[in-house]
């Protein structure tokens, strides 16, 4: 294969020399043959004649040799390219439009694909990633659910110490650390790693050393490893950083090293800044550390299988050791029923060569939908260029006829036309590549939210490169093949006869053009319907009555644990801060709570009531919040009946609650919830105090905008069963919430300078929960619009061409007395036919495909009539406009001028 190519190239580059060699060779043969005949006694003349007959035509032979050597292929390729460039340069506007629309199409496809590649397909940049498996737990009671991947520390330690089939096994957990020492929070992404984490993955240090098993022992010193990126950003890559210190949540850690560049952790979408040993959790937790807690689930576990242990064997052996490990880590305070379930769990390996990622779950479907969307855009762009090429090829009708008459083979002409197409698509792909780089980083920024910065390593790998190259060639052929084949099927006689004949023929030739435009209309309709559905879903979500007012609320998260305030002083300090914030100028009302609406955090438990037919199972689940008296007023959740909390609802007073309508309806169907009592399912060994319902609040969204209203109970924050060392202040402001940040900081510093604060607005928080919906709506609308523009260019171009071709005919019609209106009707009839066909096909196609969007929509069915009608009307209106312009031109043709033409 290579030697062949090499030979051809050499043949091409040394063609002068080889030409003369071939000449000499042929001459040698010829002369020997003549000599041979002379020896048999022929005359010289006779001998030459015989030799010539036997030998064949000299020049013809040389051409055949050139072909055999493969020179022609290379040479004509260069010819084709040169000629193709010249042709493309002759119509710069058309070529630019073609390249640009291709670049957009290819760029969009590459961008989405590169996201799919990074999130789902790419191998981790660690040693032999295919040997790694994550250990997860299967609960036999729910065999169809995804196995659970989070461990408690005792469970992890038991597994680590009781297995012999992993050559290395490690645990890790993500955490957020505050680098500041009081004042505004400066977050760093932290990672707890067990001792063998780095060594098992085969990560090398870029400076200093990495954590080892010796660093991960109970009571370990506070040491940390920095990621390469964090080292560069934060310390400017200074070698002195190693050996220095770092404050994490107000605890001092010694920096022992920096990990190699390019390693970000095992979770795609996250990158760590600092890694600290698992045992260091004790430093943050104090004596009741999570290291000993048997129901604190926080660690992920993965390992590298020993050589020779196959996938099946690994699964079996994990299953075999499971019972003793679960027995060793059994939570003692669980109910007997739950303990039984716990003991029946089994470990299961799952491949983790491509890492783990929450992004996969959240964005798999949206990414696939977007891939489909940009695929359609590319098809429409191709269709556009195909009709341009077709129009141009018809204009080159005579050129092609002449070339054919001069002896060019049809294959040769097709090759020439296809070369032009591949030139276009290559240019499109190159430009598209830049669009893609820019687009994919834009997308990543888009799906990042205030709370959750998504990090993806977007360096393009071979998979993305070959994807782009592949679609470049594919699109080139797609839009090139039809025009190339059609336009080379020329009847020589009619072409040579003159243009009238050509015109008559090209009227029938417009038919494939019509098909192309109709299919563009159909595909555009599908895109418009999809984007309409997503837009309407988003609008419904945004305008939903959520039960609180998200505007002008500043959320301030304060952590007194990290401020090292003793627990017994915390309630008073929180109270003090709240009243200072309430008194700030610009604050309409300030409150505090443990939860905020739509915040990714939930607190729920089962309720017991004494009424007959009380809800059981999941129906008895209620969602909790602990609030200060002004909370409902601040977030503007209306109190419908009963009373609000007041200072009398203290820790020692009767337990009280305000419940929402759903809770009241579900637990007290007779509508008499006020004044009734319920109990919260108690922790083992703790009493369940009766709680009296004193107020009824309107339903409000708790965890997500998409949820059906949850049964929700609000309790006075003073009556919290355990201490919440992190609480949230809500400030309803009279102006822009973020303008208050500095005065809030000052006010809190007036109480204590050590308190770390985190600021959000409620509006941001709600917006962030709609990332997926907004992504789909924005991108599909953008691409839907793009498709619309492309389709209109296609229709406009095709009709303009048709009109220019039929100009003489229109001229004659008018000269014979046809009114101008009838010419307009003639052209518009064509538009109507194409449009009707395209819309009908598009509606069918959309009906058949939108079903897959079901899960991503909110508040409307995929076959939403309004969306279909709206999309169809928009498309029809724009198409008629695009068709009207050339039609009007046709109508204004001066009959005399048209007839003089030709």
């Amino acid at each position: 294969m290579f030697s062949d190519l090499f030979y051809r190239l050499r043949a091409f580059l040394r063609r002068e020399a080889m030409e003369s060699e071939a000449d000499a060779e042929l001459r040698f043969h010829f002369e020997r043959q003549v000599e041979k005949h002379l020896k048999t006694g022929m005359t010289r003349e006779e001998a030459v004649r015989r030799a010539r007959i036997e030998f064949g035509g000299h020049e013809q032979l040389k051409e055949e040799i050139r072909d055999a050597r493969g020179v022609n292929l290379v040479e004509t390729l260069f010819q084709d390219i040169r000629y193709g460039l010249r042709i493309l340069a002759r119509t710069p506007v058309i070529s630019c439009v073609a390249v640009l629309s291709l670049a957009l199409g290819i760029g969009a496809n590459t961008a989405i694909f590169s996201l799919i590649d990074t999130v789902m397909l790419r191998m981790l940049p660690v040693q032999k990633p295919e040997e790694l498996t994550q250990v997860r737990m299967r609960d036999p009671r729910s065999p169809n659910e995804e196995p659970e991947g989070t461990f408690t520390n005792p469970l992890w330690e038991a597994l680590r110490d009781r297995q012999d089939f992993y050559s290395g096994i490690f645990a890790w957990s993500w955490a957020q650390f505050d680098l500041s020492q009081g004042g505004a929070v400066h977050d760093a992404k932290g990672m707890f790693t067990s001792g063998d984490y780095f060594s098992t993955l085969g990560i090398r240090p870029a400076a200093g050393r990495l954590l080892t098993a010796d660093d991960d022992k109970r009571g370990c010193p506070a040491v940390a490893v920095l990621s390469y990126g964090f080292w560069q950003e934060h310390f400017g890559g200074a070698p002195s950083a190693v050996g220095g210190t770092l404050s994490l949540d107000n605890h001092t850690f010694g920096v022992i090293g920096v990990s190699a560049p390019g390693f970000f952790g095992l979770d795609v979408g996250n990158k760590f800044d600092v890694a600290i040993p698992v045992c260091a959790a004790q430093i943050f937790d104090g004596p009741r550390t999570r290291l000993d807690r048997r129901s604190w689930w926080w660690l992920n576990v993965a390992g590298r299988t020993k050589p020779g242990v196959g996938a099946e064997e690994l699964k079996t052996r994990l299953g075999v050791v499971s019972p003793q490990i679960f027995a060793a880590a059994l939570p003692a305070d669980w109910e007997a029923k739950d303990q039984q379930g716990f003991l029946r769990r089994t470990f299961e390996p799952s491949p983790v060569a491509t890492g783990t990622s929450y992004l996969r779950k959240q964005f798999r479907q949206p990414l696939h939908v977007l891939m489909g969307v940009v695929g359609l855009v590319l098809l429409i762009a191709c269709a556009n260029i195909a009709s341009l090429m077709l129009a141009r090829a018809s204009a080159r009708h005579r050129e092609i006829a002449v070339r054919k008459a001069l002896g060019a083979s049809r294959a040769r002409l097709i090759r020439q036309l296809l070369t032009e197409c591949v030139l276009l698509s290559t240019a499109g792909a190159l430009l598209g590549f830049f669009f893609a780089r820019w687009g994919s980083s834009l997308l990543v920024r888009y799906i990042s939210t205030g709370d959750n910065k998504v990090f993806l390593d977007l360096s393009f790998d071979w998979r993305v490169l070959s994807f782009t190259a592949g679609i470049a060639v594919f699109t080139g052929l797609l839009f090139g093949v039809l025009p190339a084949f059609r336009s080379t099927r020329v009847s020589l006689t009619s072409a040579m006869k003159g243009s009238q004949a050509v015109d008559a023929e090209s009227r029938t030739k417009f038919r494939p053009g019509k098909w192309i435009v109709a299919s563009q209309v159909a595909l555009s309709l599908v895109l418009l319907v999809a984007s309409g559905l997503f837009l309407r879903s988003l609008v419904k979500l945004v305008t939903l009555d959520v039960g609180f007012d998200r505007n002008n609320v500043l959320i301030v998260r304060a952590n007194l644990h990290n401020a090292k305030v003793p627990p017994e002083q915390q309630p008073a300090m929180f109270d003090e801060i709240e009243s200072r914030l309430h008194a700030l100028p610009g604050v309409v009302s300030a409150s505090r709570s443990v939860m905020t609406p739509v915040s990714n955090y939930i607190w729920n438990n089962f309720l017991d009531v004494d009424t007959p037919n009380a809800p059981t199972g999941d129906a008895a689940l209620a969602f909790f919040n602990f609030i200060s008296p002004r909370y409902l007023e601040t977030v503007r959740t209306p109190l419908l009946a009963g009373r609000n909390f007041n200072d009398g609802d203290s820790k020692t007073a009767q337990r009280v609650a305000v419940v929402n309508e759903t809770l009241a309806r579900r637990f007290f169907p007779n509508g008499d919830a006020l004044g009734k009592y319920f109990r919260v399912h108690p922790d083992p060994g703790k009493p369940a105090l009766p709680i009296q319902i004193v107020g009824l609040a309107k339903d409000a969204k708790y965890a997500s905008l998409r949820e059906e209203a949850h049964a929700t109970a609000y309790f006075p924050i003073a009556q919290m069963p355990e201490d919440a060392e992190e609480q949230v202040f809500e400030l309803r402001t009279s102006a822009r919430p973020s303008a208050l940040i500095s005065s809030v900081q000052e006010a809190v510093a007036g109480v204590s300078k050590a308190v770390p604060l985190e600021f959000h607005t409620l509006a941001e928080q709600v917006d962030d929960s709609l990332v997926q919906e907004r992504l789909l709506a924005t991108l599909s609308t953008f691409f839907g619009g793009l498709a619309l523009v492309l389709a209109m260019i296609g229709l406009y171009g095709a009709l303009s061409y048709l009109v220019s071709q039929r100009q003489p005919e229109f001229g004659i019609r008018m000269a014979l007395g046809a009114p101008r209106g009838s010419i307009l009707r003639l052209v518009m009839r064509d538009v109507a036919v194409v449009l009707a066909g395209g819309l009908a096909a598009g509606t069918c196609l959309a009906m058949a495909t939108v079903g897959v969007l079901q899960k991503m929509l909110f508040g409307l069915a995929p076959h939403d009539t309004f969306t279909f009608v709206a999309a169809t009307s928009v498309l029809a209106a724009v198409a008629i406009l695009a068709g009207y312009l050339p039609a009007r031109r046709a109508m204004r043709i001066d009959p005399m001028a048209a007839l003089r033409y030709e």
Binding site: D4, A24, E25, F28, H29, Q33, G56, I65, A68, R69
Partner: protein, 110 residues
Amino acid sequence: MAQRRIELPQGTLDLLILRTLALEPQHGWAISERMQQISSDVLLVQQGSLYPALHRLERRGWIKAKWGTSENNRRAKYYQLTKTGRKQLELEKDSWHKLTAAIAQILETA
């Protein structure tokens, strides 16, 4: 010379060239002469068609060419079999035998 000459079946020219070169390196004219002699003038090979075939074989890497001096002291292009060419010859010989045997069998029995 009433003897009827047979046109070469498609594709067999390559095989014949390879076989001729298996003995010793030769130039074009000698190859053509030799093929004529051995086949006792039964096969009709248009002499010119030999050259595109030779160049094709060279491109495939089955033979290689070198300029040398001919028996009458003139510069001539000599072709010789390469290692892959030798392998190819065995392959083609083999399939040729199979083909002819199969055809013969059909002609005999059918």
